[in-house]
């Protein structure tokens, strides 16, 4: 029993409620929001060190015995994700202050971000499949508020699509949970992991597993369910886009990783084969999009889809290399996607457009910015020693060790396409003839660039210091590969 598990979920909730009391007081809003995220980060670090020293932490709410009450579980995998999502939110907050606009700040922008964080951290921590639905709804509610926040015309148009897709997938989610309950009689994930191997009706469980893949696939934007993502993510301002791109799809990816390693393992020949094929198709579809557009936002948005494919391919292999690679790549991807979106955001502020063809020659006036962008781009593509490399290496190794060597080949080949797609931004925006740009106040520029640069530096540290992080990643992978560790922590408190 350890209530510490709940701190990263409850602290942002408390601060969000406090922020709702005085929406118009600008400085208070900023200060309290940052204090809230910083407190959450501190609690996440405490939880991390606790999990690192004492193993999987679990608490079942309301003192009910474990399979009956709602369990919250924090293993290394979930705490790593909670940590990275909180770090991303902190930097996005710093970036929002100069960019989001006073009007948005005064109409509940910060509470919405903190509610989003409650939902994301809760989804990463919960050990109950219905509670997962609840936390996903919490983060969706906050994301509805954020996507329409400001009420610009494209935002209104895209938010209707976003709402419809998510309401339909949520309805499917509840039905899938109901099917699962009617077959197994439990919703506690640890208990599911105990009960599912004892059930002989593998056929119906396979159907349910695929249904869950569809539900989480909507959130994670896998092929062919990613159709809503490029349009919807294009609409809101860059800070919100960075949050969505870094966190929201990752919740779907996390849910697939958790369910497909913990309990949907009764028919891996079908379900994980399907997952591998879908993952590869997702990568290919994302590559087509990333190369097709001349819009910097669109290019990075399609790169979200590619990363989702890479991570899911690793988990579909179900061997140590693949799973550890997926975890590393997931953490890397949260940080690097946020960093890239923020960098691209600065580009669009400088040029006043997101169209690559209207950019050029920025390396002369903003050299540091240019090289930072290049480092982030190389990190995304996975050039050693940057942070994309160790994860991708392990995933590819996992594919070769497993039965899907062709998948690994596709990942290696598409890495070049990913590199091309982001280096294209570098070439168009920083090389060539300088175009006329409006001068930006130096202070304003620095207030956007500094948080972004620190985030990029963090990804470099994650890549160059991979040796330092690998023990934690292997710990996380071990729990995913040996569900008994997770089950014992929850059921034998």
């Amino acid at each position: 029993m350890s209530n510490l598990v709940l701190f990263p979920v409850v602290i942002p909730l408390i601060f969000a409620a406090i922020l709702m009391l005085f929406p118009k007081k600008l400085h208070m809003q900023r200060a309290v929001a940052i204090a809230g995220v910083a407190a959450t980060l501190a609690s996440a670090f405490m939880l991390f060190s606790k999990v690192n020293s004492d193993g999987v932490q679990a608490v079942t709410l309301g003192s009910w015995p474990a399979p009956f009450g709602i369990s919250m579980v924090s293993d290394m995998f979930s705490v790593l994700l909670v940590l990275s999502s909180t770090i991303v939110t902190l930097f996005v907050l710093f970036y929002s202050i100069p960019t989001i606009g006073v009007k948005r700040e005064q109409s509940f922008y910060y509470p919405a971000v903190l509610f989003l964080m409650t939902g994301v951290n809760g989804a990463f921590t919960t050990g109950d499949i219905f509670n997962l639905f609840v936390f996903i709804e919490v983060l969706l509610m906050a994301s509805y508020a954020l996507i329409v926040h400001g009420g610009e015309k494209p935002q209104l148009r895209e938010s209707i699509k976003y709402l419809l897709v998510n309401i339909i997938s949520s309805a499917l989610f509840v039905s899938a949970v109901a099917y699962l309950y009617s077959v197994t009689g439990t919703l506690n994930m640890a208990d599911l992991a105990v009960k599912i191997p004892q059930i002989e009706a593998v056929g119906i469980l396979t159907v349910i597993a695929v249904l869950f893949l569809v539900v989480f696939g909507f959130k994670a934007a896998i092929f062919p369910l990613y159709f809503w993502l490029p349009g919807s993510y294009f609409a809101p301002p860059m800070a919100i886009l960075a949050l969505f791109g870094a966190l929201l799809t990752k919740v779907g990816v996390y849910a697939i990783m958790r369910t497909y390693t913990l309990f949907f393992t009764m028919n891996t020949g079908f379900t994980h084969e399907l997952l591998a094929i879908i993952a590869i198709l997702t990568i290919l579809a994302g590559c087509v999009g990333a190369l097709a557009y001349f819009d910097v936002k669109k290019i990075i948005i399609y790169n979200i889809i590619i990363a989702v494919g890479v991570i899911l391919f690793g988990i579909s292999q179900m061997n140590a290399a693949g799973v550890e690679g997926s975890i590393f790549y997931l953490v890397h991807d949260m940080l690097i996607k946020a960093a890239l979106f923020l960098l691209v955001g600065i580009l669009t502020v400088i040029f006043g457009t997101s169209d690559l063809r209207k950019m050029g020659g920025l390396i002369k006036s903003y050299p540091v910015f240019g090289w930072t962008f290049l480092v982030a781009a190389f990190g995304l593509a996975g050039i050693p020693p940057l942070s994309g490399f160790p994860g991708k290496l392990l995933i590819v190794q996992g594919g070769f060790e497993g039965t899907h060597f062709w998948g690994s080949l596709v990942i290696l080949a598409t890495s070049l396409l990913v590199l091309l797609s982001v280096v294209r931004i570098f070439i168009y925006a920083f090389w060539g003839e300088p175009v006329k740009i409006a001068t930006i106040d130096r202070k304003h520029y620095l207030s956007m660039f500094v948080p972004t640069a620190i985030l990029v530096a963090l990804t470099v540290f994650l890549g160059a210091g991979a040796e330092l992080f690998m023990p934690f990643i292997s710990d996380a992978g071990e729990v995913l590969l040996n569900p008994s560790l997770y089950i014992d922590a929850v059921l034998k408190e």
Partner: protein, 140 residues
Amino acid sequence: MRTNDVMLQTATKVVTFIILMFAVHIFFAGHYTPGGGFVGGLLTASAIVLLMLAFDIPTIKKILPINYVVLTAVGLLIAIATASASIVFDVPFFTHAYDYFDLPLFGETSLHSALLFDIGVYLVVVGVTMTIIQTIGEDE
């Protein structure tokens, strides 16, 4: 054109109080029997909405000068604070406490910390429902 709504207004003046009383009854009925903060909150909100239909939004705002967003926030804080009290006592989150007390008039009554949580839920439900309805209602 102004329609004649004397009947509606007269009836509302009485019915509102019946609904509010029923809301209180349902609110306290919760825990052991069906009811609780959520339904109680919805009933209270429906009583206020009925007032708004019978009269108009400016009048009701004058009678009940409540900022419903703040009401929601206060409700949330009460609910979280009740749930978080378990952290102080070092028992799992959301664990509730109860005991039996001899109260004048009521006799032996069981008092729950869950009631405090329900008050929070009640305020959140009233606040959110009224915020939504007011936003839609004002948007003309």
